[in-house]
């Protein structure tokens, strides 16, 4: 790739610069600040992008004068195809690249990247485009880093690799140290070791499980064996205990056997034979005794019955006696009541007598009984009483009213009289002229007169006004006549002298016109003068017009005519006045008014008088009205009095009528014998007495009847009692009937008792008879049964029977006891005959003491075994708990999980560690490859170039493997490290190495080299030699040599090296 042309739009101070370059060497010469370094930066920038502002030593080169940052490079690639690569700053900091292809198309970064062989900016800067500073950078490197530099220079990744190596190594250390303990993995390993140990322990513990199970089995087995032993011992123990327990029983068994031997055998015997025989014999005895008793009793009863005596007569009258006994109470009661009733009767008789006495001598019991006191009578009586009272009240009211009316009449009369005295006076003319007594007539007359006067006054007033008007007319006509006379005289005097009037008129006219003009000039405005003018014209119009009048002669004629007319008028008016005056006087005369003091005055007096009359009339009219009222009040009062008197009379008459009626009614009813006054209240009282008397009469009748009834009963009762005594023949003597009856009844009761007893005895004796029969029958039956029993017992008599019975019973009891004992033995031995025999045998053979000893021994042994059993059980429980704990325990599982978790964690870290380690390993390998395969070629080339530049003084560049250093070999074979070389030589060495690297890169990509004034520290000879090296390099690629020293280009020329020189103007030169 080569650069044909540079187009700078704007870059640092370079603006709109275009430079073309050749193949081979291009020397760009310029003074300081001409822009050489800027140009180099520009090329770098187009290829790799603009730098960021303020990053390190690099600049961004924004155009100083503003404008577009960027430009273009015209490039030709190895195949001779040309491209225009433009990079301008739009948005991206690095700038935007457009690669214009020869076919007119365009592309971006990827094509550019391909054009420059994908090398990165660092490599480009280190190897292809460098200045003195980059060249000298190596000086500061430490020896061990030199090899690294070569590597770095060759790859461009130096720092990254260093950084990567460091961070990897750091991380590796952090993760794991072979002999360390604090790194992450080391710590994890320690932790996991602990957990693992614990896990193993737990596993071992769980492995014990089977041993524990075995142990448990053993214990179980032992337990089983022991249990069996215990059972057996327990069995024996029980056997021995049984023997011991049954020893007493066994002894009595033997005794039973012995006794049985000595009793004769009775095979069969009736069940309970002796008891039954005893019972039968006893029964026979008892029944026989019973029979004798019964017979005796029967005899006694018959005896007793015969001894009872009985009165039949009394019993026959049983009913009568009982009746009397029932009635005796009534008798007693009636006797008492009769006495009481008689005293009541006496008392009532007394009371009745009192009543009759109260009513009066004419009254007796019959009259009282016959007196009508029915409700109708009472009602009538009430009515009379009411009516009489009413009348009395009415009479009182009427009396009252009459007196009041009388008083009223007296008062009204008095008031009327008084008022008549108070009549006011009336004008005399009324009384004089008419003498009318009649009030109404007087009033009418009076009113008429006043009205007439009023008319007169009104008419005279209008006449007076008329006259006054006429007087005024006359005066005005006379006035006019006077003025016309004056005018006529005036006219006649001024007919000759005619100037004055026109002069004044013309003056007015002049003023009318001139004043506005003047105003116009004064005010310099036209409308005020115009208004003034109009006003003046209006004012003077008459004057202006007036000048058209006729002459004065004409006026005089006219004036005479008018004066004559007015004189006529005056005469007419004066006539008229006289007429009015005569009418007025006539009127005054008619009403007797004397107009001597002048019409007006007269009229005034008249009208005043009229007012006074009117006043008097009003007063009189008021009095008259009241007088009428008082009169009517009086009349009314008198009327009332008359009415009251009439009413009072009427009431009195009615009263008398009612009283007559009342007395008549009383007589009719026979309340009174004669007609004498008696008040209804008294009558009422009498009625009450009469009724009281009648009541007593009735009660007396009742009592009498009662007494009679009782007397009747008493008499009959006594008769019955006497009859009874006669009939029964029993005399009790002179006693009270009650006593007699009680006595009789008592006697009757006794008789009844006797009768009853006889009856009872009869019944009993029949009963006893029956019992005797039954008992005899039973005795026979019992005797039969006894004989049969004796027969069954194989005995002839009871004695033998009893003996046999005793034998039988004895045998039965003994053998029963013996069997019982045997049975209990059998039960103990489990119903096993053999065992039973064994048991009996044991009992026969051993004594009580030996059995007791054996028992004690067994018990002791058993106790021991049980203790042992308890221990084993304890052991078993412990084992089981342990086993259960192991079987359900989660600790092992927990640790197992933890272990695996830890292992997982460890694995992850181990993995990271592995990656770190292997990455470092691979990096090392990659670097070794470079050193081994690429570095030798580079060093060979570098040796050649160094030889050229130093003129053969230094012949080789060496980089021993694994030694991280560079050495040079002098022509004398001495190897030197860079530190021992001169500054220039060191620079030459590094230049040579760069040339070599460029060559090495040439296998991959050919790029132009840019050398920025790098010969500064070279001596002239070495410079020339270096130029030759440059020439060699340039044979394969484009080389740009920037310099501010003109002698450099001179040297190129001297060395006959072809180059194109481009002179770069300084900024000051423009």
């Amino acid at each position: 790739m080569k650069i044909d042309k540079v187009e700078i739009y704007g870059f640092g101070h370079l603006k709109d610069v275009e430079l073309t370059f050749n193949d081979g060497i291009n020397i760009v010469e310029g003074m300081n600040e001409a822009g050489k370094t800027t140009l180099m930066s520009f090329i770098r920038a187009v290829l790799f992008g603009f730098s960021r502002r303020g990053r390190g030593t690099e600049q961004r080169y924004e155009p100083l004068d503003g404008g577009q940052l960027g430009g273009a490079l015209h490039l030709t690639d190895g195949d001779g195809i040309t491209y225009r690569v433009e990079r301008v700053f739009r948005r991206r900091v690095k700038g935007d690249v457009t690669v214009y292809l020869p076919d007119g198309g365009s592309a971006g970064e990827e094509v550019l990247s391909r054009l420059i062989g994908q090398i990165n900016e660092k490599v480009f800067k280190q190897i292809f485009a460098f200045g003195l500073s980059e060249l000298q950078e190596l000086e500061n490197l430490r020896e061990e880093e030199i090899n690294h530099f070569i590597y770095t220079a060759g790859t461009g990744d130096g720092q990254v690799i260093q950084k990567a190596q460091k961070s990897l190594s750091d991380r590796e250390q952090e993760l794991f140290k072979k002999a360390g303990s604090k790194s992450i993995i080391n710590m994890k390993l320690n932790e996991i070791r602990d957990i693992y140990q614990e896990l193993q322990r737990l596993r071992q513990e769980n492995a014990e499980y089977d041993r524990l199970i075995e142990e448990l089995d053993r214990v179980n087995h032992e337990l089983e064996r022991l249990n069996r032993n215990v059972d057996e011992y327990q069995h024996q123990l029980v056997w021995q205990e049984k023997l011991l327990q049954q020893y007493d029983a066994f002894e009595s068994y033997l005794e039973m056997e012995d006794r049985l031997q000595g009793i004769p055998v009775v095979d069969d015997f009736p069940e309970n034979g002796v008891v039954r025989l005893d019972t039968l014999e006893q029964n026979i005895r008892d029944k026989t005794a019973e029979l004798n008793d019964l017979k005796e009793r029967k005899d006694r009863l018959i005896q007793e019955m015969q001894s009872i005596d009985c009165n039949d007569n009394l019993l026959d009258h049983r009913e009568e006696i009982e009746h009397l006994r029932e009635d005796v109470n009534i008798y007693r009661e009636y006797t008492e009541q009769a006495g009481r009733l008689q005293s009541d009767q006496r008392r009532l008789e007394q009371k009745l007598d009192d009543t009759i006495f109260r009513l009066g001598p004419s009254w007796n019991r019959d009259r009282i009984r016959d007196m009508d006191t029915s409700t109708a009578v009472r009602k009538k009586l009430d009515e009379f009483s009411r009516r009489l009272n009413q009348l009395r009240e009415q009479k009182l009211t009427a009396e009252n009213r009459r007196q009041t009316a009388q008083k009223e009449v007296e008062r009204a009369t008095r008031l009327h009289q008084d008022w008549l005295q108070k009549e006011p006076s009336l004008p005399e003319w009324i009384c004089d002229r008419d003498r009318i007594d009649d009030e109404a007539g007087k009033e009418n007359q009076y009113m008429e007169t006043i009205e007439q006067h009023q008319q007169g006054v009104d008419t005279s007033r209008s006449l007076l006004d008329q006259m006054k008007e006429i007087d005024l007319d006359i005066a005005s006509i006379e006035d006019r006549v006077r003025s016309r006379t004056d005018l006529k005289q005036g006219l006649m005097q001024t007919t000759a002298a005619s100037g004055e009037h026109p002069a004044r008129r013309w003056g007015s006219i002049a003023v009318t016109f001139l004043f506005p003009i003047l105003l116009f000039f004064i005010l310099e405005s036209w409308y005020i003068p115009l208004a003034t003018f109009i006003v003046l014209v209006l004012i003077n119009w008459n004057r202006i017009k007036g000048d058209n009048r006729d002459g004065a002669s004409l006026q005089l004629r006219e004036l005479d005519r008018l004066m004559k007319e007015e004189k006529d008028q005056l005469e007419l008016k004066q006539r008229e006045k006289k007429q009015v005056q005569s009418r007025l006087e006539q009127l005054f005369q008619q009403f007797q008014q004397n107009p001597s003091s002048g019409y007006e005055q007269t009229w005034k007096q008249w009208s005043l008088q009229l007012e006074e009359w009117k006043e008097q009339y009003r007063d009189w009219k008021d009095w008259h009205k009241l007088k009428k009222e008082k009169w009517s009040v009086l009349k009314e009062a008198e009327e009332n009095l008359l009415e009251a008197n009439r009413e009072f009379d009427h009431i009195e008459r009615t009263g008398e009528e009612v009283s007559g009626e009342w007395l008549e009614w009383l007589q009719q009813l026979r309340f009174i014998e004669e007609k004498e006054w008696i008040s209804p209240e008294l009558v009422q009282e009498m009625i009450r007495d009469i009724e009281g008397g009648r009541d007593i009469l009735r009660r007396l009748d009742d009592i009498k009847e009662e007494i009679d009834r009782r007397q009747q009963f008493i008499t009959s009762f006594t008769g019955r009692l006497i009859d009874l005594q006669k009939q029964t023949g029993i005399s009790i003597g002179e006693h009270q009937p009650e006593y007699q009856i009680r006595h009789l009844y008592q006697m009757l009761e006794d008789e009844k008792q006797k009768e009853l007893r006889i009856k009872q005895h009869e019944e009993k004796s029949t009963e006893v008879e029956e019992q005797i029969g039954r008992t005899e029958h039973r005795i026979a039956a019992e005797i039969e049964e006894r004989n049969q029993l004796l027969e069954r017992g194989g005995a002839k008599d009871p004695e033998e029977f009893r003996r046999r019975a005793f034998y039988y019973e004895e045998r039965r009891q003994l053998s029963g006891k013996r069997d019982e004992i045997l049975q209990s033995f059998r039960r103990l031995t489990g119903n096993d005959e053999e065992k039973l025999n064994q048991f009996l045998q044991s009992l026969h053979s051993s004594s009580r003491t030996t059995v007791e000893e054996q028992l004690g021994e067994l018990e002791r042994q058993l106790r021991d075994m049980k203790d042992q059993l308890e221990q084993l059980r304890e052991q078993r429980v412990q084992l089981k708990t342990r086993i259960d704990h192991l079987a359900s325990g989660e600790t092992l599982s927990e640790f197992n999980y933890q272990y695996h978790r830890m292992a997982g964690e460890l694995e992850e870290y181990a993995r990271e560690w592995a990656v770190t380690v292997v990455t470092q390993h691979v990096m090392q390998k990659a670097m070794e490859v470079y050193e081994r395969e690429k570095q030798p070629a580079v060093l060979k080339q570098a040796s050649r170039y160094l030889q050229t530049i130093t003129g053969g003084r230094y012949i080789r560049v060496l980089a021993p493997l694994n030694e991280n250093k560079i050495e040079v070999e002098r022509v004398d074979g001495r190897r030197l490290e860079p530190v021992y070389l001169s500054r220039g030589t060191v620079e030459q060495l590094y230049l040579a190495m760069r040339f070599a690297l460029v060559e090495e890169y040439g296998n991959h990509i050919i790029l132009p080299m840019i050398l920025d004034d790098i010969f500064v520290n070279f001596d002239p000879v070495r410079t020339k030699q270096a130029i030759r090296a440059v020439q060699e390099v340039a044979s394969q690629r484009q080389v740009f040599f920037f310099s501010c020293h003109p002698h450099i280009s001179q040297l190129f020329t001297e060395e006959k090296v072809n180059y194109r020189k481009i002179y770069l103007e300084g900024p000051s030169a423009g």
Binding site: V123, T155, Y209, Y897, R901, G904, A910, R911, V922, A926
Partner: protein, 428 residues
């Protein structure tokens, strides 16, 4: 005529711990507990399934527990489960596998009547009788010892009068190199034995290898226990009618589900988007897991400018935590076991290889190591010896396999790119 139903399960591994859940510190207690109990809960689910689905018998093809763990709880728990089945009249046929071999130190427990453990000496058979008629005969042999490498298929001889023959075998079929090659056999061998159903165990991935004549089935384990055992885990429910298999249905029993997911972040430009993606992805997983918690290992891949912000991974997780906190705490939680950053900066590997930079040399070197077995074993045996050969490291770290080294090299490559280009991103 005759119908019966059985359940085929295997590899219960009761109470054996989850592998590789230690990748992240700070696992909440409730998650830890649930994980710890998950094998038991899965076993409960299996028992419940037998009862609910009225299975006639249950076959367990080995590895009921890891005897090496010495967990008595596992054994007693198993015993209790069997008793429950006994109560429901369900028979159980069990063989022992390489994790619970005859000589593995099994605790002496009394097993219920319904359970048949097959002998470790030779193949035995047991009749399954339903309604007075033998409807199936089950054949099986337990491992006498853990490392039992004998091919025992020949021993499985069907008796002439058997209406339905089931073979219980704990085996590595066709010698899968990813698994221990115990009791190996081949598909062809199995087919020759004229059985109806081969109930296999050992391989944890459930699979129906042959549908019928004979059915060859790996039940898989009932609960996934490491990131390598992802997806649904359970057992097979087999219905047989008139001596013919009617259906073989997979039934889930896992209590916690594992996921190993890859999330491509290509096109993601901001770290916020990454958080959102991860959260959404995990939420989606939670929804997919069907009412059970999940454990997820996530690999972030793809070329993305946020690449450099994803490391160190601990910092990234710290940033992510608030977004997934809710998922961690919900009833059916999702636990992000670990997150692996496999993203790359936006430079292509090819481009880098073509360049002359150090990266090219580095990548070439990685390539070289990968293709050179000597180099690989050198890394394994020399470079990583310090830790992996360490006294404790050897004990507690799993040995590195060929595959592990390849994976490691991939990570090395990623690491290098991150180191070389991580800063580049900032600088540009």
């Amino acid at each position: 005529m005759t119908h019966f139903r059985f359940i085929h399960a295997a590899d219960l591994h009761l109470d054996s711990p989850f592998k590789g859940i230690g990748g992240r510190t700070g696992m909440p207690q409730h998650i830890y507990r649930r994980i710890k109990e998950s094998t038991f809960r899965a076993f409960d689910a299996l028992i419940q399934l037998c009862i609910d689905r009225r299975a006639d018998f249950l076959c367990i093809s080995g590895d009921v527990f890891d005897l090496a763990d010495r967990s008595l709880r596992a054994q007693t728990y198993f015993q209790k489960g069997l008793k429950r089945l006994d109560d429901h009249g369900i028979r159980v046929y069990v063989i022992h596998g390489n994790h619970d071999p005859e000589d593995g130190g099994k605790a002496s427990l009394t097993w219920p009547e319904n359970t048949t453990f097959f002998s470790s000496q030779q193949v035995e058979s047991a009749s399954f009788v339903k309604e007075g008629e033998e409807v199936a005969r089950i054949y099986g042999r337990s491992y006498p010892t853990a490392k039992f490498t004998q091919n025992i298929v020949e021993e499985y001889q069907r008796d002439p009068d058997v209406s339905f023959a089931v073979g219980l075998l704990h085996t590595n079929l066709d010698g899968d190199p990813n698994h221990d090659n115990y009791a190996p056999c081949t598909r062809v061998q199995l087919k020759q034995q004229n059985f109806d159903y081969w109930a296999l165990g050992h391989i944890h991935q459930p699979s129906v290898i042959e549908e019928r004549e004979p059915a060859i089935v790996y039940a898989g384990n009932i609960q996934g226990r490491s990131v390598k055992e992802t997806g649904a885990r359970g057992c097979y429910l087999v219905d047989v009618k008139n001596g013919e298999i009617e259906s073989i249905m997979f039934q889930e029993t896992d209590d916690v589900r594992w996921y190993h997911e890859e999330l491509d972040l290509t096109g993601t430009e901001r770290i916020q988007q990454v958080f959102d993606h991860v959260r959404d992805y995990l939420q989606d997983l939670a929804d997919r897991s069907g009412n059970r918690p999940s454990i997820v290992r996530m690999e972030l891949t793809g070329m993305t400018p946020v690449h450099s912000q994803l490391t160190p991974v601990d910092d990234f997780l710290e940033g992510l935590d608030p977004y997934i906190e809710e998922l961690v705490n919900q009833e059916n939680w999702v636990w992000l076991e670990s997150i692996r950053i496999r993203t790359r900066p936006e430079v292509s590997r090819e481009e880098l290889l073509a360049g002359r930079g150090f990266a090219a040399d580095f990548l070439k070197e990685v390539e070289r190591i990968r293709s050179n077995p000597e180099e690989v074993s050198k890394i394994r045996e020399e470079i990583l010896r310090d830790l992996y050969g360490h006294r404790d490291g050897k004990k507690h770290l799993p040995p590195l396999s060929q595959e592990d080294i390849f994976e490691l090299m991939q990570e090395v490559e990623d690491m290098a790119l991150r180191l070389f280009y991580g800063d580049e991103e900032d600088a540009s």
